[in-house]
């Protein structure tokens, strides 16, 4: 019989990094499969993670597919499964099945400038694309990251962001000013308007809270971006990950299988029910 689509592969946590503390904590986990596994994925795809005894949760893969040693997941503590994940330590075993979803059509972006726009934990799905584009820099044009969070403490990948400045344009923001903060103060969409990325030969990817995405799209449109140049990802509650359990649909699209990546040209045609 073919592989059981509900059977997760076992993976061991090899690294846990606390990205953000406080009331909305975020941790980054690196995992390795316990036995030989042919798991291969595209940027923007997700995996269904199991904490045995707690259940499953669909999480975007934040490492690049070019990294073969581990899978990385950056996870905001929110529900039953993500709370249990936050309790887990190096050496603990989780289940991984997937990959699921469509992923970003990066092969269509050869030679283009890419503007990444993220808010909070929304940098996780972007991170996979960004690192892939960086590693294959000769295939793409200029890369720019516009990223923000509520406070400087809520920014993820802080150390990596500092290193990233050597390689590409990085523009950070926080919602309200703090002593010592030298970059933009305000919401992410305002920073987009402030930095004025050019739509010429460009693609923009935006991930973050729905309200941020809405206004980032508006800001990009005001700068002259066409709907088909703007990509985003959608989240919905999921159980199966394979288009059967019936809850993550937006219109006839199952986000788990047909998404989570949409161009704004595609997404605006779907019912506004997400």
């Amino acid at each position: 019989m073919a592989h059981n689509v509900y059977l997760p592969s076992l993976a061991r946590i090899i690294e846990v990094k606390e990205e953000v503390g406080g009331a909305r904590p975020i941790k980054t986990f690196r995992t390795q499969f316990v036995s030989q596994n042919d798991f291969s994925f595209r940027c923007g795809q997700c995996a269904m993670l199991s904490v045995f005894g707690k259940g499953e949760s669909m999480i975007s893969i934040s490492s690049s597919p070019l990294v073969k040693d581990y899978l990385q997941f950056s996870i905001l503590k929110m529900g039953r499964v993500t709370s249990a994940l936050h309790e887990m330590q190096v050496g603990d075993i989780i289940g991984v099945r997937g990959p699921y979803g469509n992923g970003f059509p990066m092969e269509q972006w050869k030679g283009k400038n890419i503007i990444f726009v993220g808010g909070g934990i929304g940098l996780a799905p972007i991170w996979s694309v960004l690192n892939t584009a960086l590693a294959r820099k000769e295939e793409f044009g200029d890369l720019m990251l516009i990223y923000g969070a509520r406070t400087s403490k809520d920014l993820v990948f802080k150390q990596e962001l500092e290193e990233l400045r050597q390689k590409m344009a990085v523009h950070l923001s926080i919602d309200v000013g703090e002593p010592g903060w030298k970059e933009f103060v305000g919401f992410v969409p305002q920073n987009v308007t402030d930095k004025k990325p050019s739509p010429k030969n460009a693609i923009s990817i935006t991930c973050g809270p729905p309200i941020m995405i809405k206004f980032v799209i508006k800001a990009l449109k005001d700068l002259g971006f066409e709907d088909a140049q703007i990509y985003t990802t959608v989240e919905n509650k999921m159980k199966c990950g394979i288009g059967k359990c019936g809850r993550c649909n937006i219109g006839l699209h199952y986000v788990c299988k047909d998404g989570p990546v949409y161009s704004w040209a595609e997404l605006k045609k779907l019912p506004q029910e997400y």
């Binding site: 689509v5 045995f52 259940g55 509650k237 394979i242 059967k244």
Partner: protein, 346 residues
């Protein structure tokens, strides 16, 4: 196609010949008929009208264990619960309920085949019973491309001719069942088939309910997503979910871990039916809910069956069994809702 005649008195003998199969047939419990495993062939009576639940529950049970897991220290062991399925025969399947399985086949098939569904589906033969007369006052199969004698999804269709059944074997699985009791069957006379056809036509005439021009509904719905219509239609819904639990085509499910013992950890991953009419069906762990009210949930139910499914699979996701109409405690009537959709704004 193989055609046969079976005397009604020979039905238990035929079932006895099928001893290598697990046999299901409608059995009465209290007021309700439901499919049960049959131990005594002579107890099988096919004079039921409509079973409360469709035979979907045999192929896709309300609760099933997908996996078992054990954990000790830093080690985890996961085992799939996918035992071999004993070949089964379900007697007395109504044509609408057999057609419904051809629709759930589409969902559980495709590029991620569901091994739990298919191990039972492939091991099960469906022996249908033509609806003569229609079993429910809310039958509307003719409106959704079905009929009281539809053969879709069946391995054998039986028609009650009074003292005998007229059988049509439609698949290799059906032929096998007939071969197992070959000495019990007679060759039909030309008049037997004519009699069956006459009974079918009479039965079709007795179907009281219909949705006229249902083919217009998918396109019409497309323009009604934002309509206040859904608020009004859903006002009385008490979100009991019976409409979808009884539906032979609904397939939504939940998956949860159930702990058997906590130290060392031992548990099961369990799939259960779920329901788009429940508020937490789509609720994110953050509390955000894309379908937060009754209107959006009724709209989902109607759109799924008569718009999304049609676009995806070119079939209505409804076979007109009428259970949701008969059993809704607040009389939300899908036939009336569809009539109103068709006429909305005109």
């Amino acid at each position: 196609m193989m055609e046969k005649i079976l005397g009604k008195k020979s039905l238990p003998q035929w079932i006895r010949k099928l001893s290598s199969y697990k046999i299901y047939a409608p059995a009465k419990e209290g007021e309700l008929w439901n499919f049960k495993v049959i131990d005594r062939p002579e107890s099988v009576e096919l004079d039921f009208s409509q079973t409360a639940l469709s035979p979907k529950k045999i192929i896709f049970p309300q609760r099933e264990v997908l996996l078992e897991f054990n954990s000790n220290e830093n080690e985890v062991e996961v085992r799939q619960i996918l035992s071999d399925e004993k070949p089964s025969v379900i007697f007395g399947v109504r044509p609408c309920d057999a057609r419904a399985l051809t629709l759930t086949d589409k969902v559980f098939g495709g590029d991620f085949e569901d091994p739990y569904y298919w191990k039972r589906r492939k091991a099960t033969a469906l022996v249908g019973l033509a609806c003569t007369p229609p079993p429910s006052e809310n039958c509307f199969c003719l409106s959704v491309d079905g009929s009281p004698y539809s053969k879709d999804g069946l391995d054998i269709l039986m028609t009650d001719l009074g003292d005998r059944y007229f059988l049509e074997s439609l698949t290799e699985k059906g032929n096998e069942l007939i071969k197992a009791g070959r000495e019990l069957f007679q060759e039909p006379k030309a008049s037997d088939k004519k009699e069956a056809e006459k009974i079918w036509a009479e039965s079709a005439k007795k179907i009281k309910r219909q949705v006229k021009e249902l083919k217009k509904i998918p396109a019409k719905l497309k323009g009604m997503f934002e309509s206040p219509f859904w608020d009004e239609e859903s006002l009385s819904c008490i979100r009991c979910g019976i409409c979808t639990y009884l539906c032979p085509t609904c397939h939504c499910f939940d998956i949860n871990d159930e702990i058997v013992s906590s130290s060392p950890l031992k548990g099961e991953r369990v799939r259960t039916w779920d329901n788009c009419q429940f508020p937490d069906f789509t609720m994110h762990s953050s509390g955000h809910n894309p379908r937060p009210d009754r209107a959006s949930r009724l709209r989902q139910r109607i759109f799924h069956k008569f718009q999304y499914f049609v676009e995806r699979y070119q079939n209505f996701q409804c076979t007109g069994c009428g259970r949701c109409v008969s059993k809704c405690p607040v009389r939300i009537d899908i036939i009336e809702v569809l009539d109103k959709v068709r006429d909305y704004g005109s």
